[in-house]
Symmetry: C2
Subunit: 354 residues, 2 copies
């Protein structure tokens, strides 16, 4: 059974303005200063080196129409036909359905991994092992798997997976999905021990997810059936543009995961972070003795600074003095200086475009 990887790359990354902008959002940025962008690192995790889970021609990227050129430029190994432009953002259920209906045309006998484009994984080998285990379990059953992350702290920024009965050596039945909790609830989850972070990584057979979508999201499926009639015809783009926006805006979690009785999880412990906040990005970067983390294209000198994260791209020299706990971010002529404690304001800053 052939493995296909669907990378969801439609986000606009507004929490990371101005490093991330609506023109070039986070997944297309070398956020960690490694020389590879987030989507490239995600691709590499599946396709590069020994033990690769997937061939480049089996990678599918679902993204906004306006990011197609970015994907093409950053992932030249992925066939053009596998870059799937969404004419409108309709959350993850229509996004995943679109990719699955495409994959069905190529190989109905596929096993699928769905991953966000912009999560960070420290231990790729362990990541592959866990995904591989899930793939072998979905190949031989109609189970749906989600990869849970062993929680490291009572994080209130993630959703949680409640696990029940064990399934074999590694997997567990999922008994509930929990929304982002408040701090006492998160602390309770950690003490309880049965809860995992929800990383939004899914593994299923094509036939399994298709059947689940037909059962729980028939509206989306009937639209996809109509769109699929145009696949490979000159009308494809027009039909897609007309019909796709008619899909219900709904996440795969609400549409399927919380409804299907057949959801399982494998707890993963591979240094995962969604890098969803400046704080989590900082935590995943090397830090100096004063707990400053710096990613810079030029020189950056921090004098008497502590607990800062500096992410600059277009400046050749940055001198900072006497800042404690600040974000200093620059990209493409835009500069932000803002305390980490105010980072929830950044969406507001970024929404005022200039």
């Amino acid at each position: 059974m052939e493995t296909q990887v669907v990378i969801m790359a439609g986000g606009i990354g507004s929490r990371f303005w101005p490093m991330s902008t609506p023109e070039v959002p986070k997944q297309f940025i070398d956020v960690l200063g490694t020389g590879r962008t987030m989507i490239q690192m995600t691709y590499d995790r599946f396709c590069k080196g020994e033990g690769a889970l997937c061939k480049p021609q089996n990678v599918w990227i679902v993204t906004s129409e306006k990011y197609v050129d970015l994907v093409r430029g950053q992932l030249p190994e992925v066939p053009e036909a596998n870059i799937l432009p969404e004419p409108a953002s309709r959350n993850t259920a229509p996004c995943i359905a679109y990719a699955c209906w495409k994959i069905a045309r190529v190989n109905p006998d596929s096993n699928i991994v769905v991953s966000p484009a912009d999560a960070f994984v420290l231990d790729s080998a362990e990541y592959r092992r866990v995904i591989g285990t899930a793939l072998s379990l979905t190949a031989s059953s109609t189970k749906i798997f989600t990869v849970g992350i062993k929680p490291l702290r009572p994080e209130t920024g993630y959703g949680y997976i409640e696990t029940g009965e064990a399934l074999g050596e590694e997997a567990f039945k999922v008994t509930a999905f929990k929304e982002k909790p408040d701090a006492p609830t998160a602390a309770k989850y950690i003490r309880d021990g049965r809860y995992l972070w929800n990383a939004g990584i899914f593994v299923w057979k094509l036939s399994t997810i298709t059947a689940a979508l037909r059962e729980y999201a028939p509206g989306i499926c009937s639209i996809m059936d109509r769109i699929a009639e145009s696949f490979g015809t000159p009308d494809e783009s027009t039909v897609l543009g007309e019909l796709f926006p008619q899909c219900e805006k709904i996440s795969i979690d609400y549409a399927v995961m919380e409804k299907s009785p057949d959801i399982y999880t494998i707890p993963g412990d591979f240094g995962w972070s969604d890098l969803g906040t400046w704080g989590s990005l900082k935590a995943n970067l090397p830090q100096d003795r004063q707990n400053n983390a710096v990613v810079s294209s030029g020189s950056a000198e921090l004098w008497d600074c502590k607990n800062c994260i500096v992410h600059v791209d277009g400046l050749r020299r940055v001198v900072l003095d006497a800042l404690d706990g600040y974000i200093v971010a620059e990209r493409d002529g835009r500069l932000l200086v803002c305390p980490l404690s105010d980072e929830q304001k950044i969406r507001e800053f970024s929404s005022k475009q200039a």
Copy 2:
């Protein structure tokens, strides 16, 4: 008697890094965001509009060799021959002598104003009136005038002029020049009432300053005599390059003003500032209700900031949050974020070139 204006424009403005850099120092920058650079504003004060004190062809700019193109570009009205390149920085006495020996070739019967390129004057009309008064007094005597500024506060960043006996309605004999005082001494000066700020603006007849230099700085004069032999010949630049650096490095204050018995001053009250610190620059800019001053080529949004000065040139959007009392300065790919209270450190930052 023809008035000649000598503008000294050799400074490197290291206190204003990175707004000011050794490549384009403060006097060549639109520091106040008015659309004119400091040297252009200085030129305008003497030459523009009704009541101009001087014709463009009587303006002389002494500057470093490497700034000649900047002067030419910013002051196209000034004849090329009047831009005098110093092969080395030798402080103000050799600089002034150089200009005077040049002027002597053109018109020995000249009356001269010497001004720094980068001081700020709010009330140009009053400035002209005061300078005009000084010029009439030097034209008819062998007195040397310096323009003193009526002090507004016990500033420790300026030198002071101690005044004695009155000379006519506006002028006073200078009894002493005082170095930058400590705070108690500055406070004493203000209470005393006889002290003025030393603005480094001088007025004298060519024959007067030449005679004074011959008496008090004969070494510089003999070098200038030898340089002057080459004026207008193909060897001029070579001779200047060889001999000028041999001049003693000394200010006109030490070389002449503190030695001559014939020094007078006219107190001026025309909104003068040397804009020598970020603090004084801030004080001369319009401020918002939270005492922030902003000069920006693009948009600058200050959220919950107070007492900041923002001076950005190459960024199209700047968002600052929760800064109190900071300098945020950017030019040509260089960024500084530094508290105003630390601005004495900026020279150190700027000396580490990158």
